[in-house]
Each structure stands twice: as C-alpha cells, then as structure tokens.
Subunit: 341 residues, 2 copies
DNA sequence: ATGAAAGCGCTAACAT
DNA sequence: ATGTTAGCGCTTTCAT
C-alpha cells in the first residue's frame, strides 16, 4: 500500500507538505500542490484511516447499536440512517446487542475499542455503564425509537399512536378488540398501554382472554400468537398488533382459520413497513416516518460531532399517522344470522 | 480514555507486560497477570483498535459492498453475513455502491483507506481497479450472488433455477407466460435467460409483448411493470418475476385489475424472502438458501484471512429449490365459457 | 512556504 | 520473565 512517505519521496518533498495538500491546508506552493495531486492520482494513494484517526483522535465512524433480532422496521431505519451518515462522510459500524441485554457488556467493549465519533442506538442498552461511558467520553449519542436514560431520542408518541390505532377500530364500531404484543422494548410497552387506554377511554373493558403475547417480533411469531389466541377464543372482531410484522403473521393465522379480514375481523398494525402495502388485504397501520427519523438521527449526530454542545431540536417526537387501508372495516352487524330470518 | 500506559503505570510494570497479558501471551508471572487483569477490569480498559491495527496491519474488519438500493433478499443476506462475521470477531463496514457503477471509484477509495482484512461483494463492481487493488494487496474477497471477474462467488445457478421456475409453470399447463424483470446485475440477466430457455425447451415461443421491464427491483416497481404489462395485453396465464419483491408488486397489480391469482394468472417469484410466505396467495418461488450462503461467505473470508491461500471449496454453487405454494395452479380450462354450454 | 521532529497507542524484536 | 526500543502512517507544532 502506498503511503504518504512514498508520495513525498516521489515528489521530492516532505511528508508534511503532502499532508497539507491532502488536507487542503493553505500555505503550499500551487505548483507543488498540483504535482503532488498528480502523484496521488497516479498512485491511487489514500491516507490510512487508522493512522489518521490515531493522531486526530477521531475515527470518522459512527456506531449503530441494533437488536440482534432486528425487525423489518428497524432494518429500514438502519438503511436510511446509513445512507445519510454516508453522505456526511462517516463510516458505519454495526453493533449487535441481544434483546435481553445479556451482550451489553461485550458490546460496550467493542464500542470502547473504536473511539467512535458518535453513536446511534436502535436498541435499549440496559447496562448503565454504556450511558456513563458515552457521557464521560463526551461521545454524541442519539437513540431512535428507543428510550435510553438521558440520551435524547427520536421517536413517535407510541402510546398515543397505539391509542389512535385502537380508537380507529372503536370508531368503526368494534368492541371486542384483541391485542398481539411482544415485550423487551419500551416502545412495545407503550404501545400496549395505548391499547388499554383507548379501551378505557371508550368505556370498554379489556378481556384478558383476548390478549395474546408473542415471543418475538417476527411474522412467524405473530402467526403463532394468532393461532394461540384463536384456540382460546373467537369472540373478537378486531386485532391490534403492535408491529406490522406481527400483524402480517396474524392476518395469515386468521385467514388460515377461515376468518375473513376485514370481513370477520379487522386488523391494525404499527410501523408501516414496505410490505404492508402489498399484503392482502393491504394493512391499515400507524405510519412511523422512517425517512425523517433516520435523517434526523443522522443529522443530529453529525451536528453534535462537528459542533458539540448542540441540543436535539425539540423533543425529538416525530408525527405518526394512521394509514387506513383495507384491513379494517365496520364489524358485520350480527355474526349469528338467527336474528335475520 | 484509559490506555496501556496508564495500566502499566498503575501496575508498576511496563506496557509490554500489559500487552502480553491483554493478548494472552505466555511468559508472564501469574501474579502480575492477575494484578493487571484486575486493573483492566476496574478501569474498563480496552485496547485502542486504531493503534492496534496500525502496528498489526490488520483492521479486524471486513467490508461488505452492497448496492445503494438493496432489496429485501440482499438485506436478509447482509444480516446473516454480519452475524457470522461477528462470531468470528470481525467488525463489519458497509460500503454503498451505486447500481450503475458511478460510485465505484469513490467506494474503492473508502475501501483503501480502511486496510480491510477482507471484503464481501454483494454488488458487482464494474471498475476493474477494484479487483486489481484487491489482488495486489492480497485482500481476501468473495462475491455473493454476483459475479465479479476472478473473485470467487457463492451463488445459486440462476439460469437453471429460473428455468426450473418457468418449467414448473409449463408443467402446470401454462403456455403464455409473461416475464417481469429488471437489469443491472448479472444474476438478473441469467434469470431472464433461464426464462427464455425454459420456453424454448418446451417449444414455446416468447412473445415480446409479454416481456415487462421494471425500472428497479422494488415491489412498487414490480407493480408498475405489471400495470404496464396489463395495459398492453391480458393474453397470458402466468407470470415469472425474477425477484420475489417484483412478484409481490405484480400480484398486487394483477389483483387490483380484478385478476385472480392463481385462478386467472399464476405467479412465480425468485429468492424466497421472508415476506413471501405471508403474501396472499403465498408465493411460489425459488428458494435461495440465504443462511447457507451467508455462512459460507463469512466462513470463506475468515478462512482466507487466517489461512491465506485456501481456495473456495467447490465452485461456490449452492442448491436452489422450487418452493411450491399457492400462487401457481393449472390454467383454467377455457377462459371464454362459450364452449361449455 | 517548507522541513524536521515529536507523538498518537500499540506490538514485537531485542536485550537483559 | 520483564523492560527498552523502534516503528506502524499520519498530523502538527516549531523552526527556518
């Protein structure tokens, strides 16, 4: 690999001069500059990042911590963040952390070793040392969708959004609304709280039998949850799944059981992932503005790196939106037709 | 940030000793070792990666080059690769490259700056310099699903698989089979070739009017392609889409036009992404063994890094499999019922 | 405007 | 078994 000394030697100048050229500093003779530039071009020289980051004490990379089992929404979000960060000239290092926090310590060590310029959390780190380290080293951090102590967070109002989703169902006339949820994230508990609130506000009581826990956040897991729910009761006309992926599995489970969606049962999801629009029926859901969230997270980190001390503009709460598609409808007047004749 | 000298000073020893402990070398007094270990524990010391990689001339990171517009299949693949590489102790640096190769040069520079230990290509780099650089620097490289000159590649036999997919349709009795495709990748052209071959083998002639190009590989783009196809002709009973995502959009387009799938038109995809099983109807498709492919790519890179000179075992061709689900069926006997009465 | 020299944190000869 | 030293590639004073 060609290095700065090689260039200097070929140009008959010192490494300092080459460095100045590379970094666009002033005080260098235009002729020499162009000669060096040509040499760089010819040799394909690129400064070694490790050396650079060692002396500069900046790594030009920002870390993203994500759950090891990340769902589609998170995947989309990561992709957006990466693209933006890339634009700002950062590299992205991905750190996987177990959902249960068991790998937090190890993850922290990896983070420490990198001397990151900034970090974005898509995963809640339970380990207090993480926040402590970040604070002590003054490493800019933002969380996105997850809350992590004092670290600023970009997110929708999950509780309110979930309430909106369930309220939509109630508004349609549903009274018996099932819930499919999974745990492990603060947003997940907020969403289930939103469900209960909506019920309460409407004077409906939550029936424990209609609450179906899912082990993970995968579609398959949602399918299992729906099956379990169905094996227990069929006395509901709507389902709120706290993520689209869960809803995706739930719809499958419902249909497999011969239940029409939304004919017999309406389904609402949360996230609005790409696939939701291609399900059948198209999924009614809460849209999280992924592009905005990702852009904001990336921008904020960049801003804090280049101009430290800046605060997150506003509270970091981005607007959600109920997207009504085809998976929700009014409940059918009477299920048992014995009244009609 | 605490460094090796700090530890050495606190322990009253030299940095070398600390280094030996950290790297698990022999020849260090057990007592001193444990004292140092305790210090490391207390201070939370972690060796600086930049410094380490500078002297070792290894970065402990492998790069993954992916298309800037990566599809769901690629996303799943990346995720598998990352997990495996992580297991081997590598960090993963993601490089985005434009589909058209316009960013290849810039991308190469970034790669150069990193002194990567290895690189995995999920994107075809058109720029010859990339392969040259990799060869010159003896940086292990594997491609996955894409072919890139002499770089070994892990992939299914795309042409044959596509042929199998279309042959399945033909076997069902279909004679008028449409194609939805997009370009930019060698696998994409192989798949379309497979389509033509299957037709030819069956003595069917390919009708240009039934070939629908899609701009991108997104579901939305597939939807558009289906709409365009439909606006031109309805004279087909089956569709082969060269990716599941395209198929996903195509099914949507078909259904929106009041066409039943598979009642009126059968659809086959390619990839078998997660969502395929949750579509309606469940998508019949060619399964690429993502877990195996990812594992193999990661393993190969690790092997080449640790024991250079090793060759890719076999040709790197992994088996595909036709997964028959619900989106394909025999064509209905006669569309126009004027014959039946 | 340019070069010499120091130093970033670490490892690996080389001494001892 | 342990310490001393040099050096990885770069940037940055500090001289000149």
């Amino acid at each position: 690999m060609v290095n700065i000394k090689d260039i200097a030697k070929k140009a008959g100048m010192s490494p300092s001069t080459v460095s100045r050229v590379v970094n666009g500093k002033k005080y260098v003779n235009p002729e020499k500059r162009s000669r060096i530039l040509k040499l760089i071009e010819e040799t394909g020289y690129v400064p070694n990042k490790a050396a650079r980051s060692m002396v500069l004490k900046r790594s030009f990379t920002v870390g993203i911590v994500i759950p090891d089992l990340f769902n589609m929404f998170q995947r989309q979000l990561i992709s957006v963040i990466e693209r933006h960060l890339e634009t700002f000239g950062y590299h992205i290092l991905i750190f996987f952390a177990a959902l249960d926090g068991s790998g937090d310590g190890e993850c922290l060590n990896k983070i420490k070793a990198e001397s990151l310029d900034g970090i974005i959390l898509l995963q809640e780190m339970k380990l207090p040392q993480v926040a402590e380290y970040l604070a002590a080293e003054k490493i800019p951090a933002v969380a996105c969708t997850v809350s992590s102590g004092v670290i600023p967070c970009i997110h929708v109002d999950d509780e309110r959004a979930a309430r909106d989703a369930v309220a939509h169902l109630i508004g349609l006339g549903h009274k018996k609304i099932a819930l499919i949820y999974a745990g492990g994230f603060s947003w997940a508990v907020k969403r289930t709280q939103g469900y209960f609130q909506a019920l309460e506000e409407a004077g409906l009581r939550a029936d424990r039998g209609r609450i179906a826990p899912s082990e993970l956040f995968s579609a398959e897991s949602g399918l299992r949850a729906a099956e379990a729910l169905l094996s227990r009761t069929r006395d509901f006309t709507a389902v709120f799944a706290i993520t689209d992926e869960l809803a995706m599995g739930a719809i499958r489970g419902l249909r497999d059981a011969g239940i029409r969606v939304p004919g017999d049962v309406s389904v609402v999801g949360f996230d609005d992932i790409e696939a939701s629009e291609y399900l059948c029926p198209r999924l009614t859901t809460i849209k999280q503005p992924i592009p905005e969230m990702g852009a904001e997270a990336a921008f904020f980190i960049h801003h804090r790196i280049t101009r430290p001390g800046t605060d997150l503009p506003g509270k970091g709460v981005v607007p959600h939106r109920l997207v009504v598609r085809e998976s929700t409808a009014r409940p059918e007047p009477k299920k048992k037709q014995k009244n009609s004749p």
